[in-house]
């Protein structure tokens, strides 16, 4: 795996944002069909751009007795966490960085999102926003352990924590084939870490937006962009972990990476429309009594295969 130079760090945010905007436009187009709206799909696909312009000119508001420092730093940390996690994402045979602890780095940056959303919810001194923050912490308690076991399973299979090494280990067989449980759990936790539907309770409609209930203007734009970046990065990471990285016939490796990422992302977009919001009050039981034991068994199985 080739490691990137400085310019990769500059290109990465742009490339990820472009990918997120494409996904947003596609999602908006699907929304038009569902809403049976009397407008063209093309007009709807331009909605994300209009929204960006609207938020850029919108007034930034504040609230009484807000904790400004916590609030704004939480908001900024959401896209920051996504971008830092993306540093270890390989595009074909190329990555901005490929450290020996790549998996741990990815996991740590994604957990930075916990702190980000919690402080962004706490900051404005508003009950609905605060409850949104609480919810993400509760969600973290549910998805994180199965998620870490899913990551560890892939690392165990490859015998390395380096993302490039994990891709190389799938030359014969993609990990998704013999670690299906870990893959499914990874998909669930990908949605959960990006507080993406059906795990969007922290930004729930019943909370009038929850963590984003008090955000306007550019602050809102930053947090919501961060959320899209998180979901793109989470989808992108499934490719090196389980889907053989850039491997595939005919097309170049970078293109295969993009195609596979788009497929995982499509699944995440679909599941958001498909399912109602999953409340942690109900999901905790499933995650601790079903997903966690299953991922431990999967890790054990993979460990045995590697040892024997």
């Amino acid at each position: 795996m080739t490691e990137g130079t400085g310019w990769a760090v500059l290109v990465l945010p742009l490339a990820l944002t472009a990918f997120a905007l494409l996904a947003l436009a596609a999602d908006a187009a699907v929304g038009v069909r569902v809403a049976h709206a009397r407008r063209s799909v093309a007009a709807a696909a331009a909605d994300p751009w209009r929204e960006v312009a609207r938020l850029l000119v919108g007034q930034r508001r504040t609230t009484v007795a807000a904790d400004g420092v916590l609030w704004r730093s939480g908001v900024v940390t959401v896209p920051l966490a996504a971008l830092l996690a993306a540093l270890v994402l390989p595009l074909g045979g190329f990555a901005a960085a490929d450290p020996g602890v790549g998996i741990v780095w990815f996991n740590a940056m994604e957990i930075l999102g916990w702190a980000a959303l919690w402080t962004a919810g706490w900051g404005p001194n508003s009950p609905l926003s605060l409850i949104g923050g609480y919810r993400f912490v509760a969600q973290g308690m549910c998805y994180e352990l199965p998620h870490m076991f899913a990551l560890i399973t892939a690392a165990t299979g490859a015998g390395t924590l380096r993302v490039g090494g994990i891709v190389d280990a799938q030359a014969e067989l993609w990990f998704v084939v013999w670690m299906p449980v870990a893959f499914v759990v990874y998909l669930i936790s990908a949605a959960a870490m990006a507080f993406w539907g059906p795990f969007d309770a922290p930004l729930g409609r019943d909370l009038s937006g929850g963590v984003v209930a008090e955000l306007s203007g550019v602050d809102r734009l930053v947090l919501l962009t961060g959320r899209w970046l998180l979901v793109v990065v989470a989808a992108g990471m499934a490719v090196p972990l389980f889907l053989g990285g850039g491997r595939g016939p005919l097309l170049p490796a970078w293109l295969w990476t993009l195609v596979k990422t788009a497929l995982v992302l499509t699944f995440l977009l679909w599941s958001r429309r498909r399912f109602p919001t999953v409340r942690m009050e109900r999901f905790t039981e499933v995650s601790w009594l079903v997903l966690l034991p299953l991922t431990i068994l999967q890790a054990l199985l993979v460990a045995l295969v590697v040892l024997v």
Partner: protein, 312 residues
């Protein structure tokens, strides 16, 4: 439609602005960031008014004056033991009268610890029936000598049920289904062809009935020993069954006796409002919202005051 003042550009008041809503609407307006516009519409002028507002917004201006950005601070009253016996802060948070996907006019004063509702008290409104006339729709022709058909009655009840279902699904974060319910409601109001409505509505009903996720998320929620039937899941199923029955009548041109609404099927033995505090206490915020959305407070308008507002 914006979910909160922070995301709004436009505050639209449709219909009469009664004293009960004056203060809440002002409070919302104060929280809307600039550029913003305030619009009041009466019947049949929606389009014109919104066009003016969009011109104002695109110039980055402000329509109608407003004060500074003031948000009420939180009332942090005291501490109390939570359900595990820990001493925790208590927040006093009123829900309503204006909240997305919430029965317009209903106010529930809650005491929250974390996101658990420790205490709930329903505010009995002094003024009754905001928008109540809206649900008299099939009876409008009564004065004009036009005939009222049971198909027309079925249509308005379907609209009412779709409105309630849309609210329930929206609160549950089931956006796709909520949107479909909203689309059907609007098309029914516009007088869409019944074959088209029937086809799409049956598809929607089947989808909800088949969803195991939906049952898993809503079962055993908001059960009461007496007075209200079942849990959120069964109350939703009851609405679906009623819609299926109403679809049969949709084409009927049989006349209906002119005794107006409010008779017979529109009253329930116990007002949902009276049992609401009991249903809500001890539940988490999300569950509480689902429970409220699964009831039809407007079915006993004398007590709760208003029918459901028409949300997005």
């Amino acid at each position: 439609m914006a979910l909160n003042p922070a995301d709004a550009d436009l505050v639209v008041v449709a219909g009469p602005l009664t004293p009960r809503f004056t203060e809440p609407v002002e409070r919302i307006w104060r929280q809307v960031p600039r550029p913003r516009a305030f619009v009041r519409v009466r019947e049949h002028e929606v389009g014109d008014r919104l066009d003016t507002a969009s011109v104002v917004l695109s110039r980055g201006g402000e329509h109608e004056d407003g004060g500074g950005e003031v948000r009420n601070g939180l009332v942090m009253a005291d501490r109390g033991t939570d359900r595990d016996g820990l001493a925790l802060d208590r927040l006093h948070v009123p829900l309503g009268p204006l909240l997305p996907n919430w029965p317009a006019g209903l106010v529930v004063h809650t005491t929250l610890q974390g996101d658990v509702i420790q205490h709930a008290q329903v505010d009995t409104p002094d003024e009754v029936g905001v928008g109540e006339d809206f649900w008299r729709w099939p009876w409008w022709p009564a004065g004009t000598g036009e005939k009222i058909t049971s198909g027309g009655v079925a249509r308005i009840r379907l609209v009412e049920l779709l409105d309630a279902l849309g609210r329930l699904f929206a609160v549950a974060g089931w956006l796709d289904v909520a949107m479909r319910a909203g689309v059907l409601r609007d098309f029914l109001l516009e007088g869409a062809e019944s074959a088209w409505v029937r086809r799409r509505l049956l598809r929607l009903i089947t989808r909800v009935r088949r969803s195991r996720t939906w049952r898993w998320l809503t079962a055993e929620l908001g059960e009461h020993r007496h007075s209200v039937v079942g849990d959120v899941s069964t109350r939703c199923s009851a609405w679906l069954n009623e819609m299926e029955r109403l679809l049969v009548d949709l084409d009927s041109i049989e006349s209906v006796p002119l005794d107006g609404p409010g008779s017979g099927d529109r009253s329930v033995p116990v007002s949902p409002q009276r049992v609401l505090p009991e249903l809500l206490e001890g539940t988490e915020f999300a569950s509480a919202r689902l429970i409220v959305a699964s009831l039809e407070p407007w079915r006993s308008p004398d007590e709760v005051g208003s029918p459901g507002g028409v949300d997005d």
